[in-house]
């Protein structure tokens, strides 16, 4: 199939999978924000979320497939692009390209490392900081787990750094997926550029607010 091998086709697949991941980021943020309602908020949410295991696993496999496609094409397209540009200018001055646009592969791979760590920590409970237990209503105590782990400044700072990488990735990724889908014209090009940065910054700050609030002692056990 042409879409799987052509230059534009693979970019469209990158764009669509990127959009799916952005939707996930939004849903995940809404879910995370239940922590502000205390143990009853996030513990009830988590229990509700996991009450249908087949659905949970179908969703996980779907997200895994989206990430796999996004990474596979991200890496191959980047390698092709590096090969197409010998990069031998003694002096090269960029007029428009940004740190974010030039480092998509690195911010993307760092976010991937974070996802691995994040799953190991809060899904598999494989890191030493994780406290697993049940709350008074006999639900998995997600609130205690998150507040305990984020109480460690190093863990919170690593999380914040990962969100900074996510911000950089999305600040180019959002306007870029709109352009690749062709949903763009002369007027929207600068607007989407600014809008992409603003939305990415809001997402970053919203995610960071959780460890920040815990570190500041505003959310405690």
């Amino acid at each position: 199939m042409r879409i799987l091998s052509s230059s534009v086709g693979r970019k469209i697949l990158m764009s669509i999978t990127g959009q799916l991941l952005i939707i996930f980021i939004l849903i995940h943020l809404i879910g995370n924000s239940t922590i502000f309602f205390g143990p009853n908020g996030i513990n009830a949410y988590a229990e509700h979320l996991h009450s249908l295991p087949p659905l949970v696993w179908a969703f996980r496999l779907f997200m895994l497939a989206a990430i796999a496609v996004h990474i596979a094409y991200g890496v191959t397209l980047t390698l092709e692009n590096k090969a197409a540009n010998p990069g031998a200018y003694a002096v090269k001055r960029n007029l428009k390209a940004s740190f974010a646009s030039e480092n998509m592969i690195w911010t993307g791979l760092l976010v991937l490392c974070f996802i691995g760590y994040h799953l190991l920590q809060f899904t598999i409970h494989g890191t030493p900081d994780v406290v697993v237990g049940l709350d008074s209503a006999n639900r998995p105590d997600v609130f205690r787990m998150v507040v305990t782990s984020f109480g460690n400044a190093l863990i919170s700072l690593a999380y914040m750094f990962a969100m900074l990488m996510l911000f950089l990735h999305l600040s180019h990724g959002i306007p870029s997926f709109l352009q690749t889908m062709g949903w763009n014209n002369e007027k929207t090009i600068p607007a989407f550029g600014t809008g992409g940065k603003v939305i990415s910054a809001i997402l970053m700050l919203a995610y960071i607010s959780i460890p920040a609030v815990i570190l500041a002692g505003l959310l405690k056990l």
Binding site: K11, N85, Y89, A97, Q179, I189
Partner: protein, 246 residues
Amino acid sequence: MNLTLHVWRQSGPKAPGKLEQYEAKNVSPDQSFLEMLDEVNEHLIKEGKDPIAFDHDCREGICGMCSQVINGVPHGGQERTTVCQLHMRRFNDGDTIYIEPWRALAFPIQKDLIVDRNALEKIMQAGGYTSCHTGGVADGNAILVPKQDADYAMDAAECIGCGACVAACPNGSAMLYTSAKVAQLAALPQGQAEAAERVCAMTEAMQEAGFGNCSNHYECMAACPKGINVKFIAKLNREYQKALFK
């Protein structure tokens, strides 16, 4: 004014190249950049040295032949200006100027500042045309084109095919060049019949010629001496999606 030039010198396609330093003395601010190089070359010839080889033709900013990366920007960074229309008044006495050829895998260096841009022609040959029966000249108004469509097509047709977009692109991609032709012909009734085949053939030819993939840095638009907008790349992407369902 007096300038120090660092110019890429390479005797042939396979020869190793390097930057060499030259002094340009008593340069007039009214000279064009190419006239300044002409004078440097005259001195080199008088000294019995090989003059700096560079592409040029119309020297009016419309042919797309001149192709030099000046201080890291294709065509020197003056908005909507080709090298031949860049004037020395843009520089200051004592400036150091780096002059390099277009650099991309698809543009092999032939000599000094001259690169082979046949790869762009390969893209054009793949679909940058409309097929028609030859014969008597058709009536110019036989097919009416709305003014907006004609203007849009003309904006895209402004591309002079110099390749600055490729030279500026961190990915060595020719998407702006390719999209300008795809968008121009897709906007006109004459181009509709072959629109789907065209976008596929031209983007495939781009890939085969060794150009990279667009990752929306928009560096091309900033360097383009004709101000070709990346909205045409969005148009190409739309045309490609339409072609998928044909």
